[in-house]
């Protein structure tokens, strides 16, 4: 039976996080984080796709012809992404509109190809599932953190609920302006830079020489 691999699941959540440590899947991590809801849906979608793709490739690993390895992986991933996209369109219509093409871009999300190549091709389904879930959730956590900052400061809301403006109005002040900078793309880059800074300050092992 599958041996327990310590850290396969928990490692990617923080110390070996796919986004800030392995530097994979940055594109969508930044583009969908202006608000928390799409960020959450994106995180869940990627986790599902990654977990399923990892398991499928792991099951097929002994049958895939080496020459068409990459394209088989792409096809499996693309098929899963199409299904996710269709489901989102049917049951989470508004969020799917906000995510627009970034759902499709899960296909070329480097986390997927990276994990499939590096892990699923050489491991049994069970660890592959754990690895997929771990990396997917690690990605989701970063998305969520960035989105929380951006939505709170940029729009003064959390999950669409008015937070700042309500307090300010109750306290009798008016004229509070949200910081428009946080909804700009550049804010996401700088926030992510700061997260990496924090993480590397805590874990000196990760620092560049």
């Amino acid at each position: 039976m599958a041996e327990k691999k310590p850290g396969v699941f928990t490692g990617p959540l923080w110390t070996n996080n796919p986004v800030v440590v392995q530097v994979l899947g940055i594109c969508s991590a930044l583009a969908v984080t202006t608000q928390m809801k799409p960020a959450l849906v994106m995180g869940i979608s990627l986790t599902c796709v990654l977990a399923f793709a990892n398991v499928i490739i792991s099951l097929l690993r002994n049958t895939i012809p080496n020459r068409i390895r990459i394209i088989v992986q792409l096809v499996v991933v693309a098929a899963l992404v199409i299904i996710v996209n269709q489901i989102l369109k049917a049951y989470a219509f508004e969020v799917s509109k906000q995510l627009s093409v970034y759902v499709g871009l899960i296909i070329t999300n480097c986390i997927l190809m990276g994990r499939l190549e590096a892990f699923a091709l050489g491991n049994k389904p069970w660890p592959a599932l754990l690895d997929g879930l771990g990396n997917g959730l690690g990605y989701a956590i970063i998305l969520f953190v960035v989105a929380t900052f951006r939505e709170f400061f940029g729009s003064g809301t959390l999950f669409g609920f008015d937070v700042i403006a309500r307090f300010v109005n109750e306290a009798g002040y008016d004229g509070y302006q949200n910081c428009g900078f946080f909804v700009m793309p550049s804010a996401a880059l700088i926030l992510l830079g700061c997260i990496i800074w924090y993480l590397r300050a805590k874990n000196p092992d990760l620092q560049d020489k």
Partner: protein, 281 residues
């Protein structure tokens, strides 16, 4: 027997089987979910259309109640398509008209089929018209509801990619759309539309026309809304003229009971004009 995983035959068969499997799976998923997706996008369209008269309805139109309100108002029976001459078109599936296809470079095409969604609420008919244009980043579109006099009863806006928190307020901030209520698109018989402008500035299309304040920090998007509304309403101009009740003329220069002269309609009765057609001319 061990298969040779690198042989051509194996590779080709493998690829074929995989393709077929994936194709079947995807087709099942797509066909199975298609009705739900169509219902979603129809519902969203209904919600956007009806949002423009939410002040008349006295309640917010959400995705949950849009279909219900739509049916209550019997909207399916009250759809028109008009051309730029203002004539009604027959045999057009109005609900399926795509606003984008009626516009070219931000202006209404000469052969456009423009949808009009008529809502009867409390005895008054509100004409809901579509708008479409270019925003700062990508397309913006929306609906505007007017009565026969050209008075605006509400608008709804949407956008493909305006800046979140700034330009996106055209959709997210209900106060922006609400500001249009009560304004009139006509000014002395000219289509003035409603300009979106910095506070205190005048209407840029027709002197003396109405205007609303732009969104702070999103002047560009506001300008785009302004242009979109003017261009879209221009396409509907002849239709709007055709529903507009003529003002009473003030001059009676002919005999009693004859039609009044000058601009406007009405019949002479003594020295003044009245809206009553005399029984015997």
């Amino acid at each position: 027997m061990a298969l040779n995983r690198n042989s051509n035959v194996y590779t080709v068969i493998y690829a074929t089987v995989l393709t077929v499997l994936v194709a079947v799976l995807l087709t099942v998923a797509a066909v199975g979910l298609a009705p739900q997706q169509k219902a979603n996008s129809d519902n969203e369209k209904k919600q956007q259309i009806l949002s423009s008269i939410s002040s008349v309805l006295g309640k917010d139109v959400t995705l949950d109640n849009a279909a219900q309100i739509w049916d209550e108002l019997n909207m399916d029976q009250n759809l028109l398509a008009v051309n730029v001459e203002g004539n009604q078109l027959e045999g057009v599936n109005v609900f399926e008209l795509v606003a984008k296809q009626q516009f070219s470079k931000g202006e209404v095409k000469a052969d456009a089929q423009l949808p009009v969604f008529c809502a009867n609420v409390g005895g008054t008919t509100y004409y809901i018209m579509c708008m479409y244009g270019a925003g700062l980043w990508d397309a913006i579109w929306g609906y505007i509801a007017v009565d026969a006099e050209g008075q605006v009863y509400g608008c709804s806006f949407d956008h493909a990619g305006e800046t979140a928190g700034l330009g996106a307020k055209i959709k997210d901030d209900p106060n922006f759309a609400a500001a249009f209520c009560g304004k009139n698109v006509w000014k002395d018989g000219e289509l003035a539309s409603i300009d979106v402008n910095k506070p205190g500035k005048a209407n840029r299309f027709v002197a003396g026309g109405e205007h609303v304040d732009c969104i702070t920090g999103a002047t560009k998007t506001s300008d785009c809304v302004s242009v979109m509304m003017f261009n879209s309403l221009s396409g509907y101009k002849n239709f709007l003229l055709s529903i507009k009740p003529m003002a009473l003329s003030t001059e009676c220069c002919g005999e009693a009971a004859a039609p009044c002269c000058g601009e406007g309609e009405g019949y002479c009765k003594g020295e003044s004009c009245e809206n009553v057609e005399p029984e015997n001319k």
